[in-house]
C-alpha cells in the first residue's frame, strides 16, 4: 500500500520537474554558457564566465536584443555535459551556446547543440577534429586550435638550436596532440618522452629521469593542478637550470598557486595581459578591478566571444535567420582585444602567437608577459581537412 502511494507521489513529482516550454521568442537572445564550474579545474570555467559576463555588462543588450544568459556547469563530465547541452537547447531554447573549456567536453556537446540548429562558440577548447574533418558551419572558436600553442614552443626550441628536449604530457588525447604539435615545428632530437597519468600529483619519478638525462630543455603540457605541482616540484628538485618550455602549464589560472616557482618559465600563447592594444588595456583593467585577479586567456577568449556575438547579431539583425547569423559571425565584425583577428574557412581564428614568460609584476601579482612574436597571422594545419557545406 505504502509503496503504491510512494510511487504515485513520485510520478507527480516527476511532472513538476518539467521546465517551461522552450522560449521561441524572436525578441529574446538566449545564450547558454556551458563551462566547467566545479572540481579542481573550475577556475578556468569561472574565468571564462567572468570574462563573458564582464563583456555582457559593458555591452548591455547583446546584439540589441533582450538577453538571457544561462550559466550551467558541465562538471567536467562528458555525460553530464551532453544532458546539460540538451537542456539548454531543447528546454531553454538557447540560440547560442558558449562553451566548453575542455576538448573532451566539446566532443560530447557539439552534436546535441548543432543538431538543434543552435550555434556553438568555443571560448577555449579547439580540438583538431572540429578544425578539420568534423568542422561544422554552426561551430566557431574564439580561441585557437589546440596544437598551435605547442607549435609555438616547437618553433622556439628549433630557433634556439636545442637538440635534446625532454617531452612530458599527461596520457590523454590533448597530451598526445600537444607533443605532436611540438614536434610539428621542432625537428631536433628528443631526450625522452613520458606520458604521465592524468591527474597525477607527484612527479618525483619523472623529475628524477630528467635529472639523470640533463636535456637541453624540457617541454611540458600540464594543464591545471598538474602544472602547479610539476612547476613547484621542478624547482624543488633543483632543475631550474634546465629551460622549462610549456603550454597551458604556467598561466594566470595557475600562477596564484605556483607563485615564485614559475618565474622565468616560458610558454606559448595567443595573448598575454600586457599585450599592447587599447581594447586589451581596457579589458585587463576592468577585469582586475572587478575580480581582483589577473585574467588568463580563458577570460579573454570568452570576453571576445561576447563581443563577437554582439557585433554579429547586430549585423544579422537578430538570431532568427541562422544563415545570416553564421555569415555575420564569419566576418568577425568586432575588434578583438588581441588586435588582428579573423576566422579561417573552418571557423577557427587566424591570429598571432607569442612566446611568453612569467614575471612578478610591480603590484606583487604574477602574470605572463610577451617576450616575442613567434607566428604572424597563423592558421592551424587542419583547415585543409575541413569540408564545410
Amino acid at each position: 500500500m505504502t509503496q503504491s502511494r510512494t510511487i504515485l507521489a513520485l510520478l507527480a513529482a516527476s511532472t513538476c520537474l518539467a521546465g517551461p516550454a522552450a522560449a521561441q521568442d524572436d525578441d529574446t537572445l538566449t545564450i547558454g554558457l556551458l563551462l566547467t564550474l566545479s572540481g579542481p579545474s573550475a577556475v578556468l570555467g569561472e574565468m571564462a564566465r567572468d570574462g563573458f559576463q564582464l563583456a555582457a555588462e559593458e555591452i548591455g543588450d547583446i546584439g540589441g536584443m533582450t538577453t538571457r544568459i544561462i550559466v550551467v556547469d558541465d562538471e567536467l563530465k562528458p555525460d553530464v555535459a551532453t544532458n546539460k547541452a540538451r537542456e539548454l537547447v531543447q528546454r531553454n531554447g538557447a540560440d547560442i551556446v558558449v562553451g566548453p573549456i575542455f576538448s573532451n567536453i566539446m566532443g560530447a556537446i557539439a552534436k546535441p547543440v548543432v543538431d538543434s540548429g543552435a550555434i556553438l562558440i568555443s571560448p577555449n577548447a579547439g580540438p583538431s577534429v572540429f578544425a578539420g574533418a568534423e568542422c561544422h558551419r554552426n561551430i566557431f572558436a574564439t580561441s585557437y586550435q589546440n596544437d598551435q600553442m605547442h607549435e609555438v614552443m616547437g618553433a622556439y626550441a628549433q630557433a634556439q638550436g636545442f637538440d635534446n628536449v625532454f617531452l612530458l604530457a599527461p596520457n590523454y588525447q590533448a597530451g598526445k596532440d600537444a607533443l605532436a604539435g611540438f614536434r610539428h615545428s621542432y625537428e631536433g632530437g628528443v631526450a625522452g618522452e613520458i606520458f604521465t597519468q592524468l591527474g597525477q600529483l607527484d612527479y618525483s619519478a619523472e623529475l628524477a629521469q630528467i635529472a639523470a638525462m640533463q636535456p637541453d630543455a624540457v617541454f611540458a603540457f600540464m594543464p591545471g593542478g598538474m602544472g602547479v605541482n610539476l612547476v613547484r616540484q621542478y624547482r624543488q628538485a633543483g632543475l631550474e637550470t634546465i629551460p622549462f618550455l610549456s603550454a597551458f602549464t604556467v598561466d594566470e589560472s595557475t600562477l596564484p598557486a605556483q607563485q615564485d616557482a614559475a618565474v622565468s618559465f616560458l610558454g606559448g600563447s595567443n595573448w598575454a595581459p600586457d599585450l599592447d592594444t587599447p581594447e586589451n588595456k581596457a579589458f585587463v583593467e576592468a577585469y582586475e578591478a572587478k575580480f581582483n585577479q589577473v585574467p588568463a586567456v580563458y577570460a579573454m577568449q570568452a570576453y571576445d566571444a561576447a563581443r563577437l556575438i554582439d557585433a554579429a547579431v547586430r549585423e544579422a539583425g537578430g538570431v532568427a535567420d541562422r544563415d545570416a547569423l553564421i555569415a555575420a559571425l564569419e566576418q568577425a565584425p568586432f575588434t578583438s582585444v588581441r588586435g588582428d583577428f579573423s576566422f579561417g574557412p573552418n571557423h577557427f581564428p587566424i591570429q598571432d602567437f607569442y612566446l611568453t614568460e612569467v614575471v612578478k609584476r610591480e603590484d606583487g601579482k604574477f602574470a605572463t608577459s610577451i617576450v616575442e612574436k613567434i607566428f604572424e597571422d597563423y592558421q592551424d594545419s587542419y583547415v585543409g581537412d575541413c569540408q564545410m557545406d
Binding site: 569561472e46 618525483s204 628538485a237 633543483g238
Partner: protein, 305 residues
Amino acid sequence: MTSLFLLQLLNGVQFGILLFLIAAGLTLVFGIMDFVNLAHGVIYMVGAYLAVSFTQMTGSYGLGLLLTLPATLLIGLVLELLVFRRLYDRPHLDQVLATFGLVMIVTEGVQIIWGAAPLSVAMPEALSGSIPLIGQMRYPVFRLVVIGAGLATALGLYLIIGHTRIGMRLRAGATSRAMVSALGVDIHKLFTVIFAFGAMLAGFAGAMVAPILTVDPGMGEQVLILAFVVIVIGGIGSVRGAFAGALLVGIVDTMGRSFGPILLRLVMEPAAAGQAGRVLAPMLVYILMAAILAARPTGLFGQKT
C-alpha cells in the same frame, strides 16, 4: 642507471611514507571500530586547506602545521560526536552511505570556503631546495623531511600501541570489543580518542604535502582509494600491515611507472611497449592488491578468519 634506480626507490619510499600517514588513521578506525570511513580522505584534504590558511595567517609554515594538528583533531571530535558515534553498531552499508554523504558535503563545503582553484603553501625557506645525493642526482630536502616525519610517526605509533596502557586497550579492542567493555574501559571514550587521533594523522598528512602538492578539492579522493588499497593489502587493523602495504604500494607504483616501459621494451616493440606501459602503470597497484588478496584474503598482516 644504478643511481637512477636508487633515486626512484627513494621516491617510492617517500610516496609510501605519505600513504602510510593517511592509511594509519584509516586502519585504526577500520580495525578497531570495524568502521568504514570513506570520509577519511576529505579530512586529509581539510588538513591541507587548513595548513594553507594557517600558514597565510601566521606567515610561517611551521606554525601553520602546528595549528593544523589540533584543528583536525577538533574536527575529528566534532564529526565523531555528530555523526560517527551513531553509526558504530550499524551495518557497514550504513557507514558507507553516511560517509559517502559526508564526502559530498565536505568537498562542496571546501569549494564554498576556499574556492575551486588549486592553492598552495610556500615552501619554508630552510627546507626548500635540494641536496646532491648521487652524482648529478639531487633530492629535494623537504621530501627527506616527509620521510623523516613519516618514520617518526610510525615509530611513535609502534611505541604507543606496543608499550602503553592505551595501546594495550587498543590491541584488546581490536580482538574483542566485549572484552574491553568487560574490563571496565569506556569503549565509547576509547573510540572517540581513536577517531580524533586518526583524523589528526590524516590532517598531518594533508599539511605535510601542502608545500609539495597542490591543494584542491579533488585531492582527498585519489588518496582515499589508494589508502584503502594499502590497508587491504596490509590487513585491516594492523598498523604494521599499513606500513608494509604503504611502502609496497609506493615502491611498486613509482618503480612501475619509471622502469615498467623499459622492462616491457625488452620483450616487445618500443611503440607497443610504450602503450602497454601506459595502460599497465596505473593499474599496477590494483593488480598487486588482487594478487595478494587472492593468496591471502585478509591481507599480509590480517588475522585469519
